[in-house]
């Protein structure tokens, strides 16, 4: 097992190096001269040089890359071009609300999606299976932002049950924080849950047709025992990968939900920075999101290795 862990960890290094190089190259790919654009038409040559230095775009491209990589490894992501605040600080401020959203939305999606998938997959063409088909059709037709706007309209505008916007830390004020996170988390989780349910259903239905399950029925095990103890553990192995891939949807969903419910957060920061061409902030945020994404996939791989011994031996 240890060998497997080390092997997977070393595989993550080139991926991180490659993607960070891609993030570095982003600024250099921009058509025209982004420095001159940022400085404006009437900027003095000194000002232009200052911005160029600030963006780390002076000197040869190799020198730039070396400096950039060493800065990043030292945790220095540069400063915002718009307000001079360090990118690290901006990310530390924007991170927690997004992490809270993920911490609520992700378990919610798992708790909603997997049981529904199990109910539908245990008995294909049963009432639960039809319910899942209906739900899938619904989730497919509504992109998360349309769903979010609909939730916002129903629960805060029409019924007035929940606040429409803003963020209050879950850890400082659990009650109010929860009230404000329910709708954004639902808008993200409902879409994710439909995909999870679909995959769980397919995986379970597949396992239910295997001989060992028939053997379990034959020796007289009850419904519950056959599905939950015999079939489900094997069916959940592929679901681990899907659950990790859904993390990408979680990021997308969070960006959109932050816009709908005017919450501060990483998505909000990235969107605003693209609009104001605040390149160092976008680069820093991208780098962090990529690192998180790689880490999640790594964890999924490890979980897969634990669940299925064949994988760690290969």
């Amino acid at each position: 097992m240890l060998g497997f862990v080390i092997r997977r960890l070393t595989q993550a290094v080139p991926v991180l190096l490659l993607t960070s190089t891609a993030v570095f190259l982003l600024l250099r790919l921009i058509p025209g001269d982004p420095v001159a654009d940022l400085a404006g038409e009437n900027a003095s040559p000194e000002r232009v040089e200052e911005i160029r230095r600030q963006l780390g775009m002076d000197g040869s491209i190799f020198a730039q890359y070396g400096r950039w990589l060493s800065d990043v490894l030292h945790g220095d992501l540069g400063r915002s071009v718009q307000n001079g605040v360090s990118v690290g600080r901006l990310l530390r401020l924007a991170g927690p609300p997004t992490v809270e959203l993920a911490l609520v939305a992700y378990p919610l999606a798992l708790l909603l999606g997997i049981p529904l998938g199990v109910l539908a997959g245990a008995r294909p063409r049963s009432r639960w299976d039809w319910a899942l088909s209906g739900y899938t059709a619904f989730a497919v037709a509504l992109p998360s932002f349309v769903l979010g706007v609909a939730l916002l309209w129903l629960f805060s505008v029409r019924l007035g049950w929940l606040p429409a916007s803003g963020h209050v830390s879950l850890f400082d004020h659990p009650g109010e924080g929860l009230r404000r996170i329910i709708l954004p988390a639902l808008s993200v989780a409902l879409v994710m849950a439909s995909a999870l349910a679909r995959y769980t259903r397919t995986a379970l239905a597949e396992v239910m047709r295997q001989d060992y399950v028939r053997t379990a029925w034959a020796k007289g095990a009850g419904d519950r025992r056959v599905v939950l103890r015999h079939a489900l553990p094997n069916a959940l192995v592929p679901v681990i990968t899907i659950a990790a891939l859904q993390f990408g949807h979680l990021l997308t969903g969070a960006v959109v939900a932050e816009r709908i419910f005017t919450r501060p957060g990483l998505g909000d920061l990235v969107v605003r920075s693209i609009q104001t061409r605040d390149y160092p902030v976008v680069q820093g945020a991208l780098l962090m999101l990529v690192a998180v994404f790689v880490a999640v996939n790594l964890l999924a791989d490890l979980a897969y290795g634990i669940a299925d011994p064949r994988i760690r031996r290969s």
Partner: protein, 299 residues
């Protein structure tokens, strides 16, 4: 969706009925013979016609500011109501549909063509060409679509064209992987050897002989990619990273309606419904294509 549920059905039990008439349109006829496919194709055709004929259907200019009150509810003169600048929402929804389609469909087509060509060549050539191409594809597929979209928008700046480029780039590796797999499955077959024996060059073999037989799964992926593209384009417009302000788009209209939810419920409703009909139609069509062309024909 269909692909997911395939495993659960005893798919190989019944052979697909042979379509009548000339084989040329057999697949198309099979798609339309399926109620899902008929509804999907009909819905899509209707929306495309409405988007093309937006000038004829809508009585108003999408940018014209009418006299009268702001945020009027639906009426005979303005079936979808009026927005905060007194612009006709029917016109804005239809022109928005046009922009949403223009930002997504050509981009999917471009990404599909480039990716397929790359995948065919990689699969046919083999060796280091294939290794290099496939490693790049793996790297691109490892990132969630949103991150690549952010990267593209950072380089090119916000705008409809950037959204299109992001969608195209996102689709290239998907099609490369699929097309290479198809190529590997086809290239050892006898008809390819026969074509080689008649002296056909690699380009002719790849793009005439093999492409025809490798097309079905690629076609299904085109439909599935169109769904994802419409969603991504709408989401980016919603975030304000798509088309520039006076231009309407479905996602942009829903975003613009947010401050007026309290009084004007119809404002986001009609663009949202249009988007939903578009997505449902595309999904039904994707399912029908998968069924009509897949090895596991159900009906």
């Amino acid at each position: 969706m269909t692909q997911l549920s395939l495993g659960s059905r005893r798919s190989l039990r019944s052979p697909a009925p042979r379509a009548k008439g000339p084989p040329r349109f057999a697949t198309l006829r099979r798609i339309l013979a399926n109620p899902q496919g008929l509804i999907g194709a009909g819905g899509l055709a209707l929306l495309v016609l409405l988007a093309l004929g937006a000038e004829l259907v809508a009585a108003h200019d999408p940018a014209a500011q009418d006299a009268g009150r702001r945020l009027l509810s639906p009426s005979v003169a303005h079936p979808f109501g009026v927005d905060e600048l007194r612009r006709d929402l029917l016109a804005r929804t239809l022109f928005g549909l046009r922009i949403s389609l223009l930002a997504s469909f050509p981009a999917v087509a471009a990404g599909a063509l480039a990716g397929t060509a790359l995948g065919f060549v990689a699969g046919y050539a083999g060796g280091w060409v294939e290794a290099v191409v496939m490693r790049c594809v793996d790297a691109m597929l490892a990132m969630p679509g949103l991150l690549s979209a952010i990267a593209v928008l950072t380089v090119l700046g916000p705008g409809s064209i950037s959204v299109g480029v992001a969608i195209a780039l996102f689709n290239v590796p998907l099609f490369t992987r699929l097309a290479r797999g198809q190529m590997l499955a086809e290239r050892g077959k006898e008809y390819v050897r026969a074509a080689e024996a008649t002296g056909a060059g690699p380009a002719r073999i790849i793009f005439i002989h093999i492409a025809r037989n490798a097309a079905p799964p690629l076609l299904t992926q085109v439909a599935m990619s169109a769904v994802a593209a419409v969603m991504l384009a709408a989401a980016l417009s919603f975030l304000g990273l798509g088309e520039r302000p006076p231009e309407p788009s479905l996602g942009g209209l829903i975003n613009a309606s947010r401050p007026y939810l309290r009084t004007a419920w119809w404002y986001p409703l009609f663009p949202g419904l249009t988007l939903a009909v578009l997505l449902v139609s595309l999904n039904l069509l994707a399912d029908a294509i998968a069924e009509a062309t897949g090895p596991y024909r159900r009906r």
